[in-house]
């Protein structure tokens, strides 16, 4: 299904991390990571808990300060940007736990994705509404537009969050554990959604525990442990790699067999 793209005729890298490190005191949460995200591909990060995956996402969004290293997006170094400028560059993210405004309707939550990135003119606001509508249709939550998030099931809350990120019309989408707490059918829906976004050219970086879903969805897998990259490559090769099996699958493979 997916091709080992990073080895084939050198695709355009939309994002590059070079020797990125995040240390908290003596803890090296991320320790000298270098990798690129080829445009239009889905890259997955695999790793046991505490291996530095979420810190890495925080570093890419400039939420967590870098100890060293450079971040490049669309060819520009943005390692000194303040965090709120990163979405303006075209990088959107979702969170490990769904984060919505409980007092606002689903539509308003999705509109939030557009609020800071587009102007306040009448035409722009109408465009923002259209974008929100499209985003809700894509994620299958348009019928919930008038509901409040606290009335929704977990799966639907996740849909709203992804819709909000899509409404930002990002060039790179970072997805932190999108299917945590979902059933198999829902996971497949999320996976299908990501693949359909890829078909439109959206580059995605996924952090996820579900190995099966990662293998099915991603074009490239990066395996991390102790803040370092241990293997990178075609998903099936990565999950068969002995180092990965030992670090991650050793414990988990039983669950996913």
């Amino acid at each position: 299904m997916s091709r080992p793209s990073h080895d084939a005729a050198e695709p355009q890298m939309i994002f590059e991390a070079d020797d990125v490190a995040v240390h908290f005191g003596g803890v090296k949460a991320v320790d000298g990571l270098s990798f690129g995200l080829p445009e239009g591909k889905i890259v997955g990060i695999l790793g046991p808990n505490g291996s530095g995956k979420s810190t890495l996402v925080g570093a890419i969004t400039r939420h967590v300060p870098l100890t060293r290293g450079t971040l490049r997006f669309l060819g520009k170094d943005y390692g000194n940007d303040r965090a709120h400028l990163v979405p303006h560059r075209g990088i959107a993210r979702t969170f490990q736990t769904v984060r919505l405004l409980e007092e606002r309707t689903v539509l308003e939550n999705v509109l939030l994705g557009t609020d800071s990135l587009s102007g306040g003119g009448r035409a722009e606001r109408r465009l923002a509404h259209e974008r929100a509508q499209v985003a809700m249709q894509r994620t299958g939550c348009e019928h919930l537009a008038k509901e409040r998030p606290d009335e929704l099931s977990y799966g639907n809350r996740r849909r709203v969050e992804i819709a909000r990120a899509i409404a930002m019309e990002p060039k790179l989408l970072l997805v932190d554990e999108p299917t945590a707490g979902m059933g198999r059918a829902e996971k497949e829906e999320v996976s299908a959604l990501m693949m359909s976004l890829r078909a439109e050219g959206l580059t995605q970086l996924i952090v996820e525990h579900d190995v099966q879903m990662m293998v099915d969805t991603c074009d490239i897998l990066l395996a991390m442990n102790f803040g370092k990259l241990i293997v990178e490559g075609e998903p099936r090769d990565v999950v068969r790699n002995p180092a990965v099996q030992e670090a991650y699958l050793g414990k988990q493979a039983v669950n996913h067999a």
């Binding site: 303040r82 709120h84 405004l101 939030l112 800071s116 606290d150 099931s153 977990y154 809350r157």
Partner: protein, 317 residues
Amino acid sequence: MIDWYTANSVVIQATMTTLLLALSIQLPLRMGVFSFAGVGCFGIGGYTAAIAFTKFGMGTWTAVAFGTVLAGVLCYLLGLLVHKLTGLYLGMATIAFALIVSVVATNGGSLTGGASGLFGALGGITNLHVFLLLAVVIIGLAISEAGRFGRKIDTVREDPELAVALGINVTRYRKLTFLASGLIGGLAGAVTTLLRSTITPAEVNFHLVVVALTVIIIGGSSSWLGAFIGAVFITWLPTVLSFVAEWEPIIYGFVVALAAIFLPGGILGLVKDLRHRRGARRGSTPPPEEGAAAPPDDEPHAPEPSRTPVPSQGGAL
């Protein structure tokens, strides 16, 4: 109607000035900034206006403008210093700011009139003037509550990290809320002082924090309308309760405690909830009559427990 107005003109005036003070505290709370600097600014605005009026012979409105702007500028500078503090620490720092204003006023010699304060600062302000000023402030706040501006402010309060991830400059919002809070607090102080003709250090004190918070807790912290409801409530309650004589403070205390416990969104929050529930019942989705509160549980996993909003002002107050 006119008789009623004449009979109650003082209470109406007090309602409006109390509302202004409460709004200066409510705005930062809506932004998730636990700041009571508005109270210190009330003092700065009041004293500045009184000094400008009595010592420098300025007109009423020049004096009010001076008080308002000086309070706004000082509050903004305070904000630059303390905007990184959160929760209780910020609350304490800004209460200390109010107490410093009070101490400076007490020790200000003939300029501030020392412990006995300033007298004879009776400006030419009518209830209509106060109403118009209040209307301007409320229109500004209503704009900040509507549409995308309102959504962004809600996000800054409920989840600053999310706000940043959506491209909102949270630091700028936090700093500007100090400026706006200072301007409103200063205006409240200047107007109140020139209406009453006096200001003393004892008036710029912790009890103003209590008044403002009571207004916000009873009415609701999410909108100016909540503060309006709260201001009407606490200014008129003593009048309504006067027949119970010495029991009045106890009843008053009970009402405040009950509101804090049972009405996390204040009276306004209650009304909004009821309206939303009725709207949902009429809406297209068929909710079960009694179980409307229970979330649909057709998912294989229980809904995740809702996140505790970071320094949630609405609920925590």
